[in-house]
C-alpha cells in the first residue's frame, strides 16, 4: 500500500499533483503522492516528565490513601473501646479550630470585608453541620441494624474505593460530589456498626446499638477528614509548596503508625502501598514513556483551537 500507487494510472511527471480542491486534475480523487507520509509526526505531544516532580504530585495520592487509613484507625480505636467518644470529639473540635485558624492565616491578601463575610457564612455552615448531624444521629445509629455485618463492611470498602478513585487530585478544594458523598456514606455505614455504651444497650438485643455520641463523633471526624482537610491542603499547596510536601510525608507516617499500633500487618501493607504509589509508579510512568508511539498526520480530525484572547480587547 505504497503512497506512490494511486488507484489508477498516474499520468507522467508532466503534470504534478497539487493538494488543492478547486482545480480539476487528471488524478483520481483518492490519489496521494510521495509527500503524504512526509507529513507524519511521531509522539508530538510527548511530555518529558521529571522524576521528582511526578513523585511530588503522587504524594497527594499517597496522602489521601493515608487519610483514609487514619480514619479507619480512629474507627477501630472507637470500636475496640480504646478511645472514648467524648475525648475524640473534643480533639476533633480543637483540630477544626486550629485548621480554620491556619486556613485564615494563609489566606491571600484581600479586603477584610470579604473576610468578615466569609467568616459569617463559615459559622453558618458549621452550625448547620453540627445541628443536622446531632439531629440525625439517633436515626443513623440504628440504620443498618438489620443488615448483616459483612454486607456493611463490603459497602464501606466499595464506597471508600469510589472515594479514592473519584477524588479531584488536581484541585481538591471544591470537593468532588461523588468522592465526598461516597466517603460520607461509608462513614455512616461504619458509624452504625460501632458498639454502644454499656448503659444504652438493651438487655434482650444480641447486638448492642451504638449511642448517639459515637455516631456524632464519627460523622464529625468524617467531615473533618474528607471535607475540610482537602480545603486546607489546597491552601497549603497554593501558598507554601515546600510545606505541602512535608505535610504529605507527615500524614503518611501518621497513617502507617496509627495502623501499626493496632494491626502491624496492615501497617506493613499500607507502607508498601504508599511506597509503590509514591516511588514506583512515577518510575514506571517515566520508563514507559519511551514505549509510546503516537502518530499524527494530516489525516487526523481537525481540532479547533479557539483563541479567545482577541475578544478581550
Amino acid at each position: 500500500m505504497g503512497a506512490d500507487s494511486g488507484s489508477g494510472a498516474a499520468p507522467g511527471p508532466a503534470v504534478s499533483w497539487r493538494k488543492v480542491l478547486w482545480e480539476r486534475q487528471p488524478f483520481p480523487d483518492n490519489y496521494v503522492d510521495r509527500r503524504f507520509l512526509e507529513e507524519l509526526r511521531r509522539n508530538e505531544g510527548l511530555r518529558q516528565y521529571r522524576y521528582w516532580a511526578v513523585v511530588q504530585e503522587a504524594g497527594l495520592v499517597a496522602q489521601q490513601i493515608s487519610c483514609v487509613a487514619l480514619f479507619l484507625t480512629l474507627w477501630l480505636y472507637m470500636e475496640q473501646g480504646l478511645l472514648s467518644p467524648s475525648t475524640l470529639l473534643w480533639t476533633g473540635l480543637l483540630c477544626a479550630l486550629l485548621g480554620y485558624g491556619l486556613y485564615q492565616a494563609l489566606a491571600p491578601r484581600g479586603d477584610s470585608d470579604n473576610h468578615h463575610r466569609t467568616r459569617w457564612s463559615d459559622l453558618q455552615s458549621a452550625s448547620i453541620f453540627l445541628s443536622f448531624t446531632f439531629g440525625f444521629s439517633p436515626v443513623l445509629r440504628t440504620l443498618t441494624e438489620s443488615v448483616c455485618t459483612d454486607t456493611v463492611y463490603a459497602m464501606t470498602a466499595l464506597m471508600l474505593l469510589a472515594h479514592l478513585v473519584a477524588f479531584p487530585y488536581a484541585h481538591p478544594s471544591p470537593p468532588g460530589s461523588l468522592s465526598l458523598n461516597a466517603a460520607l456514606f461509608a462513614s455512616v455505614c461504619l458509624a452504625s456498626r460501632l458498639p454502644g455504651d454499656l448503659h444504652t444497650s438493651g438487655g434482650l438485643d444480641s447486638s448492642s446499638s451504638p449511642s448517639s455520641l459515637h455516631t456524632f463523633t464519627m460523622l464529625c471526624w468524617a467531615l473533618l477528614v474528607f471535607a475540610l482537610w482537602p480545603c486546607l491542603l489546597q491552601r497549603l499547596r497554593d501558598c507554601a509548596p515546600w510545606v505541602f510536601g512535608c505535610v504529605c510525608v507527615l500524614v503518611g507516617v501518621c497513617g502507617v503508625g496509627g495502623l501499626g499500633s493496632l494491626w502491624p500487618g496492615g501497617a506493613v501493607l499500607l507502607a508498601a502501598l504508599l511506597g509503590t504509589v509514591t516511588l514506583l509508579c512515577p518510575l514506571l510512568l517515566i520508563r514507559l514513556q519511551s514505549d509510546k508511539d503516537n502518530i499524527q498526520g494530516p489525516w487526523d480530525e481537525a481540532e479547533i483551537r479557539e483563541d479567545l484572547t482577541h475578544f478581550l480587547h
Partner: protein, 616 residues
Amino acid sequence: MVLKIFFPQCCNKADSGLLVGRWIPGQNSAVVLAVIHYPFIPGQVKQYIHQMRGQSGVDLTVLGSWSMPKEGQEGMESFLRDLSTIFPQGQWLQLSREMGKIGFRCHVLTRDPNGKLIQQEKELKEDGGGEKGGTKRGGGEKKGEENKVEGEEGGGEKDKVIFIHYEQRKVMLSQLHPIDNGVPDPQTESQLPQLLLLQVFGTVCQSEPLFFLDKYDDGPVKMTHWQSEGREGSIIVELMKQASTPVCLLTTWMLTLWTSLCSSRILNMRPMRFISSKLSTCVQLSYRTEHLQTVCSPTRATAHNHFMRKANIFVSFFVDVSLGLLLVSWMYRENRIGKLANTLVPAADYVAKELEELLQWLMGAPAGLKMNRALDQVLGRFFLYHIHLWISYIHLMSPFVEMILWYVGLSACLGLTFALSLLSDITALLTFHIYCFYVYGARLYCMTVYGLSSLWRLFRGKKWNVLRQRVDSCSYDLDQLFIGTLLFTILLFLLPTTALYYLVFTLLRLVVVMFQGVLHLSVDFINSFPLFAMGLRLFRSYRLAEGVKFRVLCEEPGTPLHLMMDINPLKVSSVVQTYRTPTYSCYPKDSWLALCKKLFLGELIYPWRHKTTKID
C-alpha cells in the same frame, strides 16, 4: 345504462292498471309502490297522487302501465299505450304479463324533444317472478279518454332492464344501516349501490300514507299494495297508544318536580355535591332520571335512532325494575334483610381483626426481610391505632344498622342496578380504613422514591434541569452535599420498610377496587345493553338491515334478469355497537403498563374512571 325496476311481490298478480311509484334520479331506477286499477278517472288519480305527495313527501308519479291479461280483454295494449298521453312523463313503462306465461314484458317509451313518445326498446321476453302466472279475472274496465299521437319508430338504444322483486312490508319496516367507508362520494362506483338502496328503502318507508287505503275503503281509487287486503292493527297497541299520552304527561310532570328538588340550593352545596358525586347510588339515580325524561317526553320519536333509543331505555328500565322487585321480594321474605344486617357488624369486626394480625406480622420480621425496627414500630402502631378508632366507630353505629339497612334496601325496588350500586357503596364505606391506609402508605412510599431519585442525582453530582427537562451536572456547596448524603443514606436504608407497608396496603386496596369494579361493570352493562334492539334482531331480523342480498329467480339468455332482493340482517355485534345507550361507562383509565409504572412510583391509582356525567 341498465334500467332497474323495483317491483313489489304483492303486485305480481294484480289486475291491470297504472303503476304508481317514484323515479330515482341519477340512478336510472324506478320503484313501483302500488297499482291503481280500472275503473279510474284520470283527474281523480292525479288529484290523489298530488295529495299523497303532500302527505308523504315522496315524489310520487305514475310510472307506467301494468297489464295482466284476462279473457275478453283484447285490445288492452293500445289502450294502455294511449294512457301515456294523459300522464305526461319523461319515460313510460309498459309492463305486461301474458296468459299462461311466467314472463313479464317491458316496453320503455321515452319522449323525444318534440314531445312524441318513442318506443325505445325492442320487445324482449323476460321470465316472471318465480310463480306460475295465474291471471285474475276482474270486473269490466272502463276505458279512459285517450288521445295520443304515438310515433313508433323502431330502433333506439337497446336498454337492458333488470327487475328486482322485493317484499314490500319488510322493506317498509326495515331500517338500513349503511356501513361507513369514509366520505360518501356519489361518484365512486362502490357507493352507487348503497345510495340506490338507501333511496329505495327511504322511498318505501316514507310512502306509508299511500298504503292506508285498502280494498274495503270507499276511496276515489282502488289500489293494490301490501296492505290492500286489510289494514293491520291490534287493539292492544291502539289502547296503549291512547293511554300513553296522559301517562307520559304525568310522568314528565313528576320528573320535573324531582329534578327541581334535586337542583335546589340546599342540596347543591359543596360538600353535598362532592359526596353525591362519589356515591354511585346517587350517580345512578341521576342517570335513571335522565333516561326517564328521554322516554317520557310527549313528543313522538321521528328519527329511527331516537325511537330505538327510547325503546331500548324503556325495555332495560322495565327489566331492571322487575329484577329489582324480584330481589326485594326474595330478600324481605323470611326477614333475610335482618339477618344480613346482623352479620354486617361481625363482618367488619372480622376484617379489622385480620388487619391487626397482619400489622403484628409486619411489625415482626415478615418473611425474613430486613426491616428497620424503629420505623416499623412507628408505622405499625400508627395503623393499629387507626383500626382501633374504626372499630369503636362501627360499634357505635351497630344499633342503627338494621333499621338503616331495612329502609335503604327498599330502594332496590327502583331496579337491580340500584341494589348493585348500593352494595358497591356499602363496600366502600366499610373498607374506608383500608383506603386510608393505602393513601398513607402510598404517600410515604412516593416521597421516599422521589427523594431517593433526586438525592441519587446529587450523589453523582448531577441535577435535574427543569427548563431543559434533562439531567445536568451541577457543582454543589459543601453543606448541600453533606446534608444530601445524610438524607440519601437514611432514605436508602428505610426503603425496604416503607416499600413493604406500601405493597401490603396496595394489594388490599386493589382487591377492594376489583370487587367494586365488577359491580360497576355489571351496572353499566344493564344500563347500556340494547335489549330491544337485540330482541328485534332475534325475532324480527328484517327490521335491522345491514344490506341486501340478491337471488337470481330466473335467468335465460336473451331475457333480462329477475332478482329477488332479500334483506341481510345486521350482525349481532354491530347491533350492540350501534344501539348501545351511551352511559358513564366504567372503563379502566390506564393501560397495564401505565398502571404498573404508577404502582412502582407510588402514585395514587384510581383504576376505574367514569366519563363525565351531567351532574359534575
